[in-house]
Amino acid sequence: MSNWLEKHLPKIVLGPSFLAIILFVYGFIAWTAWISFTRSRLMPKYDIDGFIQYQRLFDSPRWEVAIDNLFIFGFLFILISMILGLVIAIFLDQKIRIEGALRTIYLYPMALSLIVTGTAWKWILNPGLGLESVIKGWGFKDFTFDWVINPDFAIYTVVIAGVWQASGFVMALFLAGLRSVDQEIVKAAQVDGVPTFRIYTAIIIPSMAPIFLSAFIVLAHLAIKSFDLVIALTGGGPGYATDLPATYMYTMAFSRGDIGQAASSAIIMMIVVFAVVVPYLYSELRNKNDQ
């Protein structure tokens, strides 16, 4: 008996986690997907009713705003974080004496909750008492910076706060990548008289392609999941001007009691994440198995 146990113990140990994942991840996704095809409102109904929820979703002006915001925010957030992260990483790569201290400072935002970040930036961007008044105080009497309460510009404040939080992490990734470049190639280029700038653009940056991909995947993932930041910074407002799919879903699920909508918006979110992450994971796992 104990021989049998010993032989199968590895499977028995992994078993519960595996079952948990099957149920609480894949099973739950299936349930949500099912509900997204029903007419559920406050309580779940299980009769399939076709695509009406998705129809309602894409007819909804609020969802349209959410999707637009996702693209605006996602695009700017990822682009600016990557550029900023790359620039700082390159600067830090120049054998700076206080590199350790600088890295600590650039990275600490990642240790904070997005609620804290949102709260802090909400205060900084407070029209009247925040940056706006500081700049006004410096003599620029006509300076306005009321983006936080401006429906057209509010989403950009989310970008500012998001970039502040994530660019340090991107910097750390890129710094590690820069350092893993073969120094011999760089030295050879220097001896050949290639200017520093070109060494970066022609040799170092191209060899970091996989790291760019990793950074992109992580940032894209963060962008799609963005919920905490919006809630803390703008509450989704003014109105629903800074709604993102994540906040839309939450509102539908817990405030509006419209489970069908919540489910369909959640499924859409998942599809978007899939489209970005699955190809990446697949290629990574394949590389690992080859090794």
Partner: protein
């Protein structure tokens, strides 16, 4: 590298000066919010209204801190952050411990005890890390209700453990994969069992990855908001939810200093962990994403 051997010494010096200057500017950018939070929390409301965002407090007062901790209003209750701080502690510590333990055993199995399907199971678990949690909120709410755990601390611990296992398993598996399998073979011949090998050989080797995993999990769980706001109720909310309630409460005068003090209190545990164990934290972050 910028000290390019091809530049003149003067050019190099100038470039270096420029470099440090820009880096310091970035430092200001990253430190600004922290600075603003601290200074605002130490000012009186009067000073905030009449003074500037970026000025140092004229008269330092800790009143806002006291309010934030024990009397700020988080909805109907006005007990400050204190009860919610403890909620977060009661949620985070068990969840971190359990998810780390399970992750260690899982990683051990996947890395050293290959059996048919182990890799597929691992891939499925890994994939589960990437889902947007919106897609499980609804069914989880129902299940928690059915298990009679709705709105409870235990319920939140349960949720954090379930969704933390993917990451913790990944961390340990990546670490254990680099330990030669011959150790297991030698131990088998010596007569050690599966668990004995884990206890006597792998666990003693695991300190670095345990530190990384614990820091990562603690940060994730302490900073979580989505699970907190979805699965808790008035008495069991974690500190992030309470903070948001304080800041975004629509009643009464906006006490910015209290908001800031509350934000700092909420941020302190993970910040302190970061300051003292930041090295391991960074390793944890990059281990998860660069190597996949």
């Amino acid at each position: 590298m910028i000290n390019n051997i091809n530049n003149t010494n003067y050019t190099n010096l100038l470039l270096r000066f420029l470099l440090y200057f820009i880096l310091i500017v970035f430092v200001l950018y990253y430190l600004l919010p922290l600075f603003v939070m601290i200074t605002t929390s130490l000012k009186s409301l009067e000073e905030i209204r009449t003074g500037s965002l970026v000025s140092l407090p004229r008269n330092i007062t800790f009143e806002a801190w006291g309010t934030a901790w024990s009397s700020a209003c988080t909805g109907i209750q006005c007990e400050g952050l204190r009860p919610f701080f403890w909620n977060s502690i009661f949620i985070a510590i068990p969840a971190v411990f359990i998810s780390t333990l399970i992750g260690a055993l899982n990683g051990y199995v996947v890395a050293q005890w290959r059996f048919r399907g182990a890799n597929i199971i691992f891939a499925l678990m890994l994939f589960g890390c990437f889902i947007p949690f919106q897609v499980i909120l609804l069914p989880m709410a129902r299940i928690l209700g059915l298990m009679d755990l709705a709105g409870s601390i235990t319920g939140l611990i349960f949720v954090h453990v379930i969704y933390g296992i993917g990451f913790t398993t990944l961390f340990f598996r990546n670490y254990y994969v680099n330990i030669p399998n011959e150790l297991v073979k030698a131990a088998k011949i010596d007569g050690a069992t599966f668990l004995r090998i884990f206890w006597s050989i792998f666990l003693p080797l695991s300190l670095p990855i345990i530190v990384v995993t614990v820091i990562w999990q603690f940060t994730q769980i302490w900073n979580d908001f989505l699970f907190g706001v979805s699965f808790s109720q008035a008495g069991t909310q974690p500190i992030t939810v309470a903070l948001n309630n304080i800041v975004n409460s629509t009643t009464g005068v906006k006490e910015y200093n209290v908001d800031m003090a509350a934000a700092i209190i909420a941020a302190m545990p993970t910040l302190i962990v970061y300051v003292f164990a930041g090295k391991y934290f960074i390793r944890g972050l990059t281990a998860g994403s660069v190597k996949g």
